[in-house]
């Protein structure tokens, strides 16, 4: 996050879209780290170019003579990112009627659900869960974001909702599988990242916390996708009801050991105000949100986005009314990149490790053949035959590593015994 010492590069016209200037944030993935080291030798020439560029001259003018100049690296990253563009896949899940579509439209200020037809009640009697993808390109301040929205209509609708989350889990794993295949393939220039980066799960404000269906769904997906729980239609609740419900949900999440997305802690050198704000935001998880795309005029006839009732007007962007601003700030303005990183570094790597480990064991043959049948693509590149080390050698490697670990453990134990004996020579030491 931003610190006092780091400089912030801000493109004009983008409210709150920050690019971290501290190099500590740049440990994103292998492809990024390689570049700066290579460019190091060419820096002085580049720096002059940078110095001439009016956008950066004010910040870096003094650096020409005394510094090496790789503080300009973030700008390069920045320019490359703008050129490349961002893509982000967001999944929304939850029962119907909790204000999901309205919230998405409010968050991104676009009408993604224009062509949506709400099914009739009789159609819903036989509806099963479907996965729908909608894409939209949003541009703000010269930055393009390709947003893909994954919707799950039919979730929790039928009388019998057993296993209704399985299609969702399968979908998420399919995206991982696709990426794994692309990453292990020969042509890696244009890998399309269709992995789900974040799942906004909507909880009903009318319930007494998480319901059995919520718990079952979250348990099924929490190791596969970043979950941000959200209380929809929060204008149905009074303030103390909201607090009680949030606390109950937090307790239930802890009890059921569901790992939701943890917003990273701010650096210790942040100022107190910022830390307090950050703590407040974290305290308000799950976010109690209200969505609206209509502009209403309240009593002072100030146009605000909100919902107009006969007893008052709920303002969507008023932090006292709901947590919409917090959600928008944390999801879009500050943690968009972090969500992608966690998806790549933690969740995808976990999936990859599980996948490859299961292949390394002999019983994995059956699993591999089963997974062959469920694949959608017609170009059958079977997963086990990755262009990597052949199976036998991988197994040998694993066994060697196991041996090494065991030997090291034995040495450690011997050393510990020696230390204990030397400390209390006369005493009988406990068994190791």
């Amino acid at each position: 996050m931003m610190g006092k010492g780091t400089q912030m590069v801000r493109t004009p016209g983008v409210p709150g879209l920050h690019f971290p200037a501290s190099l500590g944030q740049l440990s994103i993935s292998a492809s990024y780290i390689a570049r700066p080291l290579i460019c190091c030798t060419q820096l002085p020439a580049q720096l002059e170019e940078v110095g001439r560029d009016s956008r950066y001259s004010s910040s870096y003018g003094a650096m020409d003579k005394e510094y090496v100049g790789f503080a300009a690296l973030p700008n390069q990253l920045h320019r490359k990112s703008i050129k490349k563009g961002f893509d982000f896949t967001l999944m929304v899940a939850g029962e119907s009627g909790l204000g999901k579509s309205t919230l998405i439209n409010s968050l991104f200020l676009t009408n993604l659900y224009e062509d949506r037809q709400l099914p009739e009640a009789s159609a819903r009697l036989t509806q099963t869960l479907t996965i729908e993808r909608r894409g939209v390109e949003i541009e703000e301040g010269g930055i393009k974001v390709k947003l893909t929205l994954v919707d799950t209509p039919g979730f929790g609708d039928s009388v019998d909702c057993s296993d209704c989350w399985l299609p969702v889990v399968r979908f998420i794993e399919e995206q991982f599988e696709q990426y794994l295949r692309d990453e292990s393939g020969l042509n890696r220039k244009n890998i399309q990242d269709s992995r789900v980066h974040c799942c906004l799960y909507f909880i009903s404000p009318f319930g007494r916390g998480l319901r059995p269906l919520d718990v079952a769904f979250l348990r099924a997906v929490h190791e596969k996708v970043n979950i941000i729980p959200v209380i929809g239609k929060a204008d149905a609740l009074m303030p103390r009801e909201t607090q009680a419900l949030k606390q109950k949900i937090r307790d239930q999440l802890k009890e059921e050991e569901i790992n939701i997305y943890q917003f990273p802690d701010c650096d210790s050198d942040e100022d107190e105000d910022f830390k307090r704000q950050d703590a407040e935001m974290k305290e308000s998880i799950p976010f109690a949100v209200v969505g609206s795309c209509e502009v209403v005029r309240d009593i002072d006839s100030r146009p605000v986005r909100g919902r107009c009732y006969s007893w008052g007007t709920v303002e969507v962007e008023n932090p006292h009314h709901c947590d919409f601003l917090n959600l928008r700030r944390m999801l879009v303005q500050t943690h968009l990149q972090d969500l992608k990183e966690v998806t790549h570094d933690l969740l995808y790597e976990g999936y990859r490790a599980r996948c490859l480990q299961s292949l390394a064991r002999p019983g994995a043959r059956d699993r591999a053949s089963r997974s062959k049948l469920s694949r959608r693509s017609t170009t059958e590149i079977p997963l086990p035959m990755l262009p990597m080390l052949p199976l036998a050698e991988t197994e040998k490697l694993i066994r060697e590593k196991d041996e090494e670990l065991r030997r090291m453990q034995e040495m450690l134990e011997k050393m510990q015994a020696q230390v204990q004996q030397s400390q209390a020579p006369g005493e009988q030491s406990d068994a190791l």
Binding site: E95, S96, G97, L98, L118, E120, A121, S122, R124, L125, D157, S158, V159, D160, C161, S162, S204, P205, F206, G207, R208, G209, R211, P212, L213, A216, K233, D235, A236, L237, M238, P239, R240, E241, A244, L245, K246, Q247, K248, I249, R307, C308, Y309, S310, W311, G312, T313, V314, E315, H320, H321
Partner: protein, 366 residues
């Protein structure tokens, strides 16, 4: 002794049935005092009313009952502080209170259904409820066929079932439709839109129209049923009510100061939702329907229609009813009835069937 009254005009005494000729009153008889006698008797005996509330947890059922009868019938649980975990199976429990107003005693029994629609698999979650309702009918029937009957059979039959629909704003959910289809044949059902303070006025109207459309499509006959309108006045009154069903209600059991008066309401950061303000919600309509205007009608329809249907089925099946005039061969399983019937009776015909029977009696073949 009553003071001498004016001779009533002939038009004031209406003939009761079309066959008895109107006769001209030649003096004051005093038959209108029978109304006073009935009133005194009723006040001595008191009234009974049994109401059942059904809906998912958190929709404000207990708060609504408290608000309706302006007394703490139930201890309401604020959200997030549930007294216990959601019950694994549907349980029913009843609470009986005697409340009094201006000398009139009302023995009110409220049956709650915690756990309805809360599980992952809600199939057949309506069976315990149907079983309970039919059980009450059975109890009454057993008392009625005794040789030496009690003077006043205690009436535990459910007179009205208030069904709470979640305010999704879209349409009725499959669970709602399945439940309503089965229950509207057995008991008077009044659907309401619960927690309506999350919907704006336009959203409420849209939702209401869609629900009415759904009810018509699936032939769900909610109270007040059209086939029981007795005369034109009833029809006009009930049509107005039917146009507004389901009512969008909000319940509250706390009072707040609004314009110098204390009113029941919910206080939020953007305003106070007043429960008894018609501009805010339709709670007064529900209260008027259930208590002020149609309470006796609910009881009458339960006794004359639903209970009679149950009785006919039971007696038919146990062959206790002799095959005399008025015997009707009620098909045990009509083509489009749901597979779900309560265990002790094959099929309960809908109210429309009984009406037809009453009209067709003279031409029925024995």
């Amino acid at each position: 002794m009553d003071p001498p009254r004016q001779c009533p005009s002939p038009s004031s005494s209406r003939p009761i049935s079309p066959r008895t000729p109107s006769c001209e009153m030649l003096g004051y008889v005093g038959i209108e005092a029978v109304l006073d006698q009935m009133k005194i008797k009723a006040m001595k005996m008191g009234f009974e009313f049994n109401i059942m509330v059904v809906g998912q947890s958190g929709l404000g059922k207990s708060t609504m009952v408290n608000t309706l009868f302006k007394s703490k019938m139930w201890k309401t649980t604020p959200p997030g502080l549930a007294l216990g975990p959601i019950p694994q199976t549907l349980q029913l429990h009843s609470v009986t209170h005697v409340i009094e107003e201006k000398g009139v005693k009302l023995k009110l029994t409220v049956t709650d259904t915690p756990g309805f629609g809360d599980q992952i698999n809600n199939d057949k979650c309506w069976d315990p409820i149907l079983g309970y309702i039919n059980g009450q009918y059975e109890q009454y029937l057993q008392e009625e066929i005794l040789i030496t009957r009690q003077r006043h059979i205690p009436d535990t039959r459910v007179h009205c079932c208030v069904y709470f629909v979640a305010p999704t704003g879209h349409s009725l959910r499959p669970l709602d439709i399945e439940f309503l289809q089965r229950l509207c044949r057995t008991v008077n059902v009044v659907p309401v839109i619960a927690r309506a303070d999350s919907l704006t006025v336009e959203e409420r109207e849209d939702f209401r129209r869609r629900i009415q459309h759904n009810l018509r499509t699936h032939s769900i006959d909610v109270y007040p049923q059209e086939c029981f309108d007795e005369d034109i006045n009833d029809k006009i009154l009930n049509c107005k009510i039917r146009d507004r069903i389901p009512f969008a209600v909000v319940g509250a059991d706390r009072e707040h100061l609004v314009n110098g008066k204390y009113v029941l309401g919910r206080k939020t950061k953007w305003g106070i939702v007043e429960v008894e303000n018609m501009k805010h919600c339709e709670f007064p309509l529900l209260r008027d329907l259930l208590i002020r205007s149609h309470l006796q009608d609910l009881k009458d329809i339960t006794h004359n229609v639903h209970y009679e249907n149950y009785r006919v089925c039971r007696l038919n099946e146990s062959h206790m009813l002799p095959r005399g005039p008025g015997w009707v061969n009620l098909d045990p399983a009509p083509a489009n009835s749901p597979a779900n019937s309560p265990a002790n009776s094959p099929a309960i015909p809908g109210p429309s069937k009984v009406c037809r029977w009453a009209q067709d009696t003279p031409s029925e073949e024995y």
